[in-house]
Symmetry: C2
DNA sequence: AAGTGGTCTAGACCACTAA
DNA sequence: TAGTGGTCTAGACCACTTT
């Protein structure tokens, strides 16, 4: 049917068209609510419902007391997951005598890295326990929870889990920046020969929205990397939560 | 501060807690709007604002005339992108004399695959043109646009682009199900030796919401695979849009 | 102080679904 | 028909930002 749609749909369509055509460029301020009220001859609530639609499509952001703006897209950063934790990369980092592969990478780009690290012993969530092949429902893991910042802007959250039995008495239990756990594990004779990565897209939890300062309608990529040894035993699981508007996950795959 | 938050936040928090605790299980119906109005002693609008929050967090879905329900999560399907288009897989498909790798895979799971294919000659979008190294702003590509269904439910959208010059006069220009373009290209002496994959998470466009029948607050993974030959020349780009609630992208990566 | 968005009400009327 | 959600109004008052 071409019966006229709801008023707020009409308004939203109208504004959306102006955004997509570029007439309202990223960063531009939309007409104020009272303006929209008078241009469309509707009540304030109706205008707000329309704007709410656009907010939840990720097209605009509202700033209390300042106005409603066309959302700006940050330049995303690409991570090559097929080489980022290669032995070559580990070796290079070790040789440079630095502490963390990620921090080194970011510094190299002329940006300022920082990470908050919290270490705890936990019962891992179901999915992680399954990947670590921890059967006992009470089997424990060392969780290294990190929030990473670039130029003081929250950038990603990375949680690495290592079975408690493996980590006992190592630097993995210390709450400070360390080289990738893979390197530490290797020094214990636990060598990862393969990574198994799972990637999903989902809406963030409320905690993630807060910790990563996510704008509304920003989905996240959840990247789960399981490192296994030559016998297929899982040594470690790393769950990285990447804000969708700032990240590209890259893989190079041989075609045969 | 513990200053009391907005009423609708209180209501949303309350209902959210009941969902996360499992007291309201997936599929369960929430109290009707008039019920919430009386339990919380607020106006209908306020209740609706609260529910709207939960809808946009992806926690509940509203069905007009029927009620508001805790959202159910479909069992996701895992795709191993590090082997799905291997030469071995291509060979197996060719030997079986079937038409499409994806359809074969799905049939093997006892599900019913279907795909709508539309072929056209287009100026590829900027990102794709860049990946295909098509400098001329008017360089054309053959676009094979497919919507794939499993058991008649929309499942993913896959757009493959091949430079028009390469596809001229081949089955790639025909609007029907064919073996993966890689196989066809190979028969022309264009051999992909490497895939370069980029993955992002984003909110769907309105077209995608419609074509893939996406529930509100469902993000998508956009998976872009570029196939290159031994000289690093891009032969083909495939952009797959995967609803976030139904897909897991999987990669196996050697650790050295 | 002026301008912007945020919260809330009370009520009217419409549209869809199920019994 | 009864019950559910959907759209819309007119107006009050609050909170944040800028000048």
């Amino acid at each position: 049917m071409t019966t006229s749609r709801a008023l707020y749909h009409t308004i939203a369509d109208d504004v959306r068209a102006r955004i997509e055509s570029g007439q309202l460029a990223p960063g531009a301020r939309l007409p104020a609510e009272p303006d929209l009220v008078s241009t469309y001859g509707v009540s304030k609530n109706t205008v707000r419902v329309a704007l709410n639609l656009l907010v939840n499509e990720g097209l605009v952001v509202v700033k209390h007391g300042r106005g409603t703006f066309v959302r700006e897209r940050p330049t995303p950063i690409t991570t090559d997951w097929s080489t980022i934790e290669s032995r070559a990369a580990h070796a290079a980092v070790a040789e440079a005598g630095v502490l963390d592969q990620w921090a080194t990478l970011v510094s190299g780009l002329g940006r300022r890295p920082r990470q908050d690290v919290k270490v705890s012993i936990v019962e891992p969530p179901d999915g992680v326990a399954r990947l670590l092949q921890l059967d006992g429902s009470r089997a424990l893991a060392v969780l290294r929870h990190r929030i990473r910042y670039i130029d003081e802007e929250p950038y990603q959250q990375a949680d690495s889990y290592v079975p408690a039995a493996m980590a006992r008495g190592t630097v993995l239990e210390e709450p400070r920046d360390i080289s990738a756990p893979g390197g530490v594990l290797a020094s214990l004779g636990l060598v990862q020969v393969e990574y198994r990565d799972d990637i999903i897209a989902r809406m963030p939890t409320r905690g993630e929205i807060e910790r990563l300062k996510l704008p509304p309608a920003t989905p996240v990529m959840e990247h789960t990397r399981t490192g296994v040894d030559k016998d297929g035993r899982a040594l470690r699981v790393m769950v990285t939560v990447l804000p969708g508007d700032r990240h590209v996950a890259h893989y190079v795959v041989p075609a045969d």
